[in-house]
Symmetry: C2
Subunit: 515 residues, 2 copies
Amino acid sequence: MNRKGLAILMRTKMRSLFPATSKINQMQLSPGEGNKLLAQQTSASTNTEREFEVVRESMNSAISMNKTEVLDAVLNEFSEGYFSLSSDDRRKLLLILAREYDLNRAQVHELIRQYLGLEIPHAEPTSHEEEGRLAAFYRIEWNLRHALKPMYEVLFERLNTHPGGLKFLCIIRKDILSILEEESLASLRALDSYLKEKLITWLSPAAVELHQITWDDPASLLEKIVAYEAVHPISNLIDLKRRLGVGRRCFGYLHRAIPGEPLIFIEVALLKNVAQTIQEVLWDDPPIPEFEATCALFYSISSTQPGLKGINLGKFLIKRVIDLVKREMPNISTFATLSPIPGYMQWLLSKLASAEISDPTFRENILEPEEESALLDAFTECADGKNAMEIMWNLLTSTNHEWTKSERMISSLEAPLMRLCARYLLQEKKRGKALDSVANFHLQNGAMIGRLNWMANRSEKGLLQSAGIMVNYIYRLENIEENAQSYFSTGYIHSSSDVGCLVEPLKDHEATRDD
Amino acid sequence: MNRKGLAILMRTKMRSLFPATSKINQMQLSPGEGNKLLAQQTSASTNTEREFEVVRESMNSAISMNKTEVLDAVLNEFSEGYFSLSSDDRRKLLLILAREYDLNRAQVHELIRQYLGLEIPHAEPTSHEEEGRLAAFYRIEWNLRHALKPMYEVLFERLNTHPGGLKFLCIIRKDILSILEEESLASLRALDSYLKEKLITWLSPAAVELHQITWDDPASLLEKIVAYEAVHPISNLIDLKRRLGVGRRCFGYLHRAIPGEPLIFIEVALLKNVAQTIQEVLWDDPPIPEFEATCALFYSISSTQPGLKGINLGKFLIKRVIDLVKREMPNISTFATLSPIPGYMQWLLSKLASAEISDPTFRENILEPEEESALLDAFTECADGKNAMEIMWNLLTSTNHEWTKSERMISSLEAPLMRLCARYLLQEKKRGKALDSVANFHLQNGAMIGRLNWMANRSEKGLLQSAGIMVNYIYRLENIEENAQSYFSTGYIHSSSDVGCLVEPLKDHEATRDD
C-alpha cells in the first residue's frame, strides 16, 4: 500500500475514536437517520477550513485513486466527511466537483481533431486495410465518447457499488437540488442532470423489488412509513396498524442497496365503490369484508427520497401493484385514486386577483355570466360595489375558511369551483403537460380523470389546496399504455364525460377522441 | 395504440398458439434451458428469409419505438424471434445491429461543428451573460455526448429492464464472442466492448447477491451447479450432496434478473491444512469435524455465463466469501486454493519441441545441466542420440502417460517439471500479466503463489494440462489489496520463498520486494 493509502487508513482509524464521527458512521450505515443526525452535526458546525480541505482531499482520492487501492476506506472517509460539513461547505464542495472534475476539454479537442482527421470508413470493409481503418476509427470514437464523460462519473460509479453509497448519492442530489432552487448554476445543473441519468439506470425496475409492507415488517421499516407518509399523515401506531390491516394494502419499492427503507410506497383501500371523500377511506373499521370489494383505491403514494425528484418510480409501482392485486383478488375490477389537487387554489386565487385590475382588457373574467349573477344575488350584503370575482376572492380567503361553515355559501360556490377545477385540471398546461403536479404524475402513468368530488377533504390542507375538492384518477389496464402514450406525445388528457362536460370546449374534443 | 403496435400484439398472440414458440417462450422465461432448446430450434432450422425479416423488424421496433408504447410485447417478440434463428441468421442480425444501429455520424459532425464554434467559457461565470453562455455550452456538450452513444444502447437498456432480458443479453454476447473467435469484425468488436461495459455496470457488486447454496435449495438451482461445475465434474447427486454437506461450503452470486441460476459459484472445503492433492479434497466422508478446521480451501470456482467473459465477478465473490467464513468460523485463519495450471503443458511442450531445431543459436535449452545429465543417465536405453529435451518430450507425450506408471520416471522428471512450472507461473507473461489464465485470475484478485504440489491431480485432464502438478494460491486478507495493486500496476507476482527458490533470478527479486 502506498504512503497516501496508509495515511488515509490511519485517519479513518483515528476518526472511529471520536464519538461524533462514529455517530456519523452509524448514520452512514443506517442512512435513514441521516437527516436528524445531520442536523445535530451542522448545528454543532465544528468545521474548520482545515476539515474542509480534508474532505476535499478525500473526494479527490475517491475519484483519482486506482481501482484496486484502498477505495473502501477512502469512500467511507469521504462520505463521513461530507456529512460533517455545514451546508455552505457542501455547496462549496459540490461546486468544486462540478467545475474541477467535469471534462478534460483539451483532451476532447485533441480527440475531435483526430476524429475529424479520419474520413468515415465503409461499415462493411472488403479488404484487410479497410477492416484496420474501421477498427482505428471505432477506437478513436470510443476514446472521444469516454473523454466526454465527466470525471465525477467515477465518483458516482464507485459510490453506487459502495455500501451505503446509493443512499449517499440520493442525499448529495437532495443537496444539489436545494442549491439549484436558490440559484441557477449551469455547472451544477449539468452535474445534476448527469447524476439524475445515472440514478435512473441504477433504479431501473429490474433493480428494485416490490414488497408488500405488513405489520410483520421490522419496526425500523414501519417507522419510515410513518415518517414519510406525505398525503394523509399517520397519527399513531394504531393508525398505522389499521393501514396495514384488513381491507387495506401497502406496497413499497425496495432497493437492496438501501435496505429497510422503501424508495416509494403506495397505500391501497379495498372498497365496494370508488370513494368520494377521504372519510370513506380513513375508516377505523373496514366497512366491508374484503371478498365484497370490487375497487382498489390508491389513497396515498409517497416517495421517501427527495434526492430522487424527477425519477418516476411510481409509474412502475402502480402497474405492478395492479397486476398483483388483480391476481390476489380477481373480483376487483376498478383501480382508482382519490387524489389531492395541490395547485388548484393557488392558480384560482391568482386568476381572481386579476379582478383588481381596473382595465377590463387586461382582466380575464373566469366566471360564467350565470355564475356571476348567482354570486352577486347570493351575497348582496357583502357586495357593496365589488364584482363577482372579488366576492369569490373574499370568500375563499376568509379567515379559517368561514365559507365552509355556511351551507348557503358552500352551495353557491360549488358550481363555479367545480367547473373551474375541471378547467384547471384539463386545460391549464405547463410545457404542454398538466399544470397540476399530481395530475401530471397520474396522467403520464396512463390514468384518466374520472370524477371530481365536492367537499371530499375538509381538512385545513384540503381546503387550502383545492377548496376541499378531490379527484379520482382511473387506471384501466387495457388502456394505460395508450393513455400514457397520447399524453406523452400530444399532451392530450383523457377524462370521463362527466368531467369533460364541465368544460365546454372539451366536449367536441371528447367527441373526436376515439377517431 | 397505433396500427403497428396492434400488429405486433396480434403476432405475439398468434405465436403463443404454436407449441414450438411457447417452448421458446418458456426458454425465454427460464433461460437455463436456453441452449438445449436452442439446439432443437436450430437443428429444426425452419427459418425462412421471411421469418428473418420479422425478427429484424421486431429488433427495429424494439429500438425505435417510443418508450411508453407496447414495448414489452415487442421485446418478447424480438427475443423469441432471436432464439428461433439459425446461427448464420443470428450472425447476420448482429452485424446489422452493429453496423446500421451505431451512430448518426452526420449528427455527430454537426454537433462537433457547433461545439468547436463555442469558445470554452469560464467555469465560474461572473455575469448573467456568462452564466447563459456556460449553460448553452453544457447543453451542446451534453448533446454531443449523447449523439456519440450508439443507437443499440437503447436495445441493451430496454432489455436490461425487461423480464429475462439480462439473460438474453448474456446469450447475445455469447453469440458475439463466438463470431469474433471465427473472424475479427471491427464493427462487431465495437458492439461487444459497448455491451461488455454495460454488463459490467449492471452486474456491479451492489446488484448481485451472495447466496450460500445448500441441499435445501431448489433442485432447479442445484441442477445448474452440476451442469456448470467446470473444474471437478460432479458425477451424481450423492456427489453433489457431499459438496454441500458437512465440511464443505458452496457460495454463488445471484442476480435478481436471472433467478435460480448463479452467475458464478465457488466450492470450499474446510481442512486442517492446505491440501496438496485433489484426493484430499474430494473425500467421501469429512476427514475432520468442522470445528477443527483452520483452513478454507477454494477447490473449484466456475462461472456459468459464457456471455460474461472478461467480467471479473470472482474477485468480489472470493473477498465476500472470505469475510463470511471468517465471521462464521473465527478459527479459520488460512484461505487458499488448490488450482489447476491449465496452460503449463502446452507451453512446456512447445519449448521442448524447439529441441528439434538443429541450429543451437535458435534453440533455447530450458534444462539445467544437472537435469540434462540426470535425464540422459536415467534413460540411456531410449536415448540413442537424442538430447535430454527430446527425451523429456517423448516421455511427456507417451501414450496414456506411460511415465506416470514408473516411479523411476516420475522421480527423474519431478525436479525439472517443478522448476519449469515455477518459471512458467512466475516469469512467463503475456502483456505484462501471467500467461496462465488461472494464475492471472487469482493474482489480479490479490492472491500470492503459495506452493506447487507434485502429482496432485493424476486425472487425465490433470496430466494433460500440467503433468499432474497443482498450485495453492494463498489469500491473505491483510494484503489482498496491496498484492492486487502491485500486480495490476507492475505485473509483479508475489510468491512464497519455496516457490521463488525454484527460479533463481527471482531470489534477488524476492529480496528487493519489501523495499
